[in-house]
Symmetry: C2
């Protein structure tokens, strides 16, 4: 572990691009100024908000940073959206009633990836990372033409190989410990949930591009283990959620600081896509629901949006999506700089 | 990572005590003679067979070795066994028909732990490791009086703390990547499946006894990562199954060598207790069966015994319990000595 050349940063530590507001420009820039790679979690941002966030980060740092976006999978017709979201409303009725929310009609289910992507190109973002799939050939060509370094997300060896094959520069190996959404994109009857310890060396053996370990990495021990496994970098999510600069909701921070490794679960309940979060009433209520009954992503995400919001306003964490990884006991109240100091402790100083 | 004092062996590498015939005296002794800790997987052995295995190992090595046993949990009346096993027979009828097996009556569901345990004491086994629970206070006292070093199995921080509290000397932190049965013993609605990367440092922070990392460790990279996470040793199971000395069935070895990280699954189908194995027809057939419908361990284990056996005799791997961890792509055809060389590559030679 010497000086990193990965992404042109001093320390090969990536602050994960968690969508939903946690990755404030202050958090991203602090990580970058320390010598790591901060990431704007742009998945749910409107193109305008994304542009604003990028420009704010640029004001706060002259170092490389990343933007992470969600690659769209299926698209749905207005009729399909109507049918699925009606079912989603029925399925979540008890919770809507509890919060006094009227049944709503869902129309727009997600931001336009094409428009978000155009912002990334326009702003010549140094690093573009993505999850849930692979950009199109044209998009990859446009990124290369703009000199943007790329980073995909894989949860199996096969996904990592596909990412390498289309010319992506680096790949995150997302172990099952990771909080938030699973990046799995090869359709399978069985969701791959492969632990970081097993996943990283197997991916390292099958691709030539640098592999970044993710999942369960919370401190310098996890970082050192990632390198021991053959990774060229370590991506950290959950540990950044409880930093001062994190934009995560205070209830989310509170629950992260008082829960333990046995209290997280992979659920489809909040978005229709598998994601790891702290177990609460909403997750428990869906634990015996068959997967086919939950509207697909991103429709269920749109269905539960006002519910999650209202729950947080009420100060009730039971209907909030409290994404968290399995390293949760190691979460601490630190400044982002203190966390970076901790994470880089095992990396020789220059 | 210097010379190990753990268990009095040269290298803190433990060959896992896999029950079911894989841990031949030759395998155990080769590991011990190399300087690691070999383990006899005695869980399913009759007291006599266990004694024979121990005596054979003693003939082949003068180094410390371990015996691993299953701590009994529930006991069942003859009537309960009859009711549960009848249901188990019905549930597996299709597979029994396929193999031409008549419905049988299950009487004895497991070996007597007390008798197995007495053999461990009588033979003054150097190390006693266990899973599925914690021995009684009297049993622990007897082990201490006999100068036997003890090692428990934990899948959560809480389990590790309980193991430490009763005076056990060391604890294995079994990550979700691990093959075979889960060692979880604190009853919970949710089976803990915490990845090794997240589990090890959290357990290390909460106990003072040495922690041994297990789950996904297949080569020197995994061993180095285990130490980086704060472990004092690394336990390896799956990688030993494909060694020359392993007593695993040839079909099991074959499937281990040609499967990948996405093809294992935690199932209750074979034994009534959660265990990770290679997905096959028998596992798939039970994937939508509600857990309550499967007879509890060890009754289901007794129910499927002849079925698993007949399947292996037929050369059909679809009804065999092919236990495997998620590091499966790294399994190789090696001698146990070659594997020990690989595993200890990152540990400084003396």
């Amino acid at each position: 572990m010497g000086e990193s050349t990965l992404f042109g940063v001093k320390y090969p530590i990536i602050q994960a691009g968690m969508a939903g507001g946690a990755t404030s420009p202050q958090l991203v820039a602090t990580v970058c100024n320390f010598g790591g790679l901060g990431t704007i979690g742009g998945g749910y941002m409107s193109p305008n908000d994304l542009r604003t966030a990028i420009q704010e980060v640029k004001k706060l740092t002259d170092q490389p940073f990343a933007v992470n976006l969600f690659i769209p999978e299926q698209s749905f017709t207005a009729e399909e959206i109507a049918i699925h979201s009606k079912r989603g409303m029925e399925l979540t009725q008890t919770f809507r009633d509890r919060l006094g929310l009227a049944t709503k009609t869902v129309e727009k289910v997600q931001e336009s990836f094409e428009q978000q992507f155009q912002v990334v190109l326009d702003e010549k973002v140094p690093v573009f990372s993505f999850t849930f799939g692979i950009p199109s050939g044209d998009q990859i060509a446009a990124l290369k033409a703009a000199g943007i370094v790329t980073c995909g997300t894989a949860t199996t060896v096969e996904e990592a190989k596909q990412i390498e094959q289309v010319g992506i520069d680096t790949v995150v190996a997302q172990g099952s410990e990771a909080g938030g959404h699973r990046g799995s994109f090869i359709q399978s009857e069985h969701l791959p949930l492969i632990g970081t310890m097993a996943l990283v060396p197997q991916i390292v053996d099958h691709v030539r591009i640098p592999v970044i370990a993710a999942g369960g990495i919370m401190d310098e021990r996890g970082v050192a283990a990632a390198f021991a496994l053959g990774a060229s970098g370590a991506q950290v999510g959950t540990a950044f959620l409880t930093t001062t600069e994190s934009g995560a909701h205070s209830l989310h921070k509170e629950q992260l600081l008082q829960n333990n490794e046995a209290n997280t679960e992979v659920t489809y309940a909040f978005s229709g896509k598998a994601a790891r979060g702290i177990r609460n009433a909403f997750i428990e209520a869906h634990s015996s629901t068959r997967l086919e009954e939950i509207p697909p992503y991103p429709i269920q995400n749109a269905v539960t949006q006002d519910l999650r919001k209202a729950s947080s306003v009420e100060g009730d964490w039971n209907m909030m999506s409290l994404w968290a990884g399995q390293g949760i006991r190691l979460a601490e109240q630190l400044s982002a700089e203190q966390l970076m100091q901790k994470l880089t402790k095992a990396i020789p100083r220059l």
